[in-house]
Amino acid sequence: MKEVLQETTLLRRHRGLLWVMVRRELSARYAGSAAGMLWAFAQPLLTVAAYYLVFDVVFAMRMGSNAPTQHVGTYLIVGSLPWLAFCEALSRGASSLVDAGGVLQKNALPPVLFVARSVLASWLVFAPLMLLMTLAYLPIGGGGWAVAAVPVLLLLQGLLVYVLAYVLAILTAALRDTTQVLGFFLSIGIFASPVLFPLSLFPEAWRWVLYANPMTAFVLAYQSVLLQGHWPAAGYWGVMVVWLVVLSWLLNGLLRRSRDELVDWL
C-alpha cells in the first residue's frame, strides 16, 4: 500500500490548498445562480421530500410484513439519500482528473488533490443532510445509542467513495468510455441494492449479488440504525472493510502503473 500511503501524505501536506479548492468547487458549481450553494442542499432535500409526500402522505403505501418499516416513503428515504451521495460523489470524482487536465499540465500539483476535492465537496453537502435525516428518524428508530454508528458510517462511506472514485478517475484518464459505463452501472445499481426493496424481497439464492454493489452493506447498516434502532450487524462492517481493502489494493496497483504517465493522458 506504499502508493496509497504516499497519496495520503500528499493530501495532508496540501490540506490548506485542498480546503481552498473544496470551497471554490462548491461555489463554482452554482456560480451565476441566485440561490447559489443552497441548490446543493435543496436538490437532495426536495427529492426525499417528494418521496415522503408521494408514498407516505398521498398514497399512504405500506410495505410487506418482513420489511424494517411499514411506510414506503420512510423506507425509501433511508436508502436513497446515501445512494444519491454515492452517485454524485462518484460521478464527479471519476471525471475529476480529466476535467482538471489543463490545470495539471500547467501547474506542478499532485493529481490526488483534484479527486479528493470533488469527493470532499460532495461529502460536505451530503454528510450534514444525512445527519439531519438521522435527527428526523430519532422517533422511528427509538433514539438509542445505535445512532452513534451514523458518523462512523458517514466517514467510512466517504473513504470508500474516495478510493473508488480515484480508481475510476485513473481508468477514465486511460479510457474515456469509463464515465459512460459508470453512468450505466449507477442507473442499474439502485436495483442491485436494498434501496428500493427490502432484502427479504430478493430471492435468497441471489442475495449475494447485492454485495457486488459496494453500497449494499452501507444501506443495510443505515436501515438497521435509523428504522430499527439496532447497531449494524458485524457482517455489514465486515463487507465494508473487505470492499475498502480490495479497492485500496487495486488503487495502489493503478497508481504504481500510471505514476509516470497519468498527466500525459489527461
Binding site: 490548506g16 499540465q105 500547467k106 501547474n107 486511460a174 479510457l175 474515456r176 500510471s258 509516470d260
Partner: protein
Amino acid sequence: MGKRYSSYPSPGARLKTLLGLANQAQSYWALQNVSFELQRGQCLGVIGDNGAGKSTLLKLLAGTLRPSSGALQRVGRLTAILELGAGFHPDFTGRQNLLYGGSFIGLSREDMVRLSDEIIAFSELEDAIDRPVKTYSSGMVVRLAFALVTAVQPEVLIIDEALAVGDQHFQKKCVQRIEAFRQSGCTVLFCSHSLYHIRQLCDTVLWLDHGRVRALADTESAFASYETHVRMQDKRDAATP
C-alpha cells in the same frame, strides 16, 4: 535527463497496459540526454523548432512531468509560467480569481491580502478587477495572471512563450520585471520563438533539435548556429518542388 512518451494504438490498448493485461505501448523519446547546470542570476534561453522538446523540458523542470531517465535538482522557490490564466474561473471576478490562483502557487490568504493591491496595480486592471473574468479580453487575463505569478520573487523562474501575448507596453513591463528578478539573483529559464526577447534577457542559450541538445553556449554563438540551421532548412525547402 530524458523524457519518453508512450503512444498506444487505441485507448483500449492503453487500458490493457494499465491493467497489466498486455503492453502495446510504443514509446518515443521527446527529450534525451539533456544535461546542464545553472547558477543564481543566470538566464537560459531555450530555442528550437516546433516539436524539438522545449515545452517538455520546461514542464520537467517545472515538475508537471516526471523524467523517464535522469534526475533534476532545484533549489528554492519555483514559479513556472507555462500558460497564463489556465485556472481562472470565468464567472468569478478578477479579485476572487486572484485569491484562488494565489493558493495554487503557495500564497496564503494573508499573503494575498497583502499583495493584492500591488498585483492589481501592476496588471493595470483597477477598473475591471471586480468584474467577472469572462468579460475580460484575453490580454487582460494574461496581465492579471502574470502580475499574480510574479508577485513574489522566486529563486527559479520558468517561462514558456508567455510573453507572446499582451500588448507591447505590457510585454515591456514583463521583461523589465524578469530582468529585475535576474539582477537580484533569480535563475530564469525562458523559452520563446522571439529571438529578440531571448537576446534581451538571456546570457546562455540551449538549442534543442529533435529532443537532443544541438548547442549550449553563449547567446550569440548559439544563435549563429541556429540561424545557419534555419537558413539550410529554408534552402532545402526551396530546392524540393
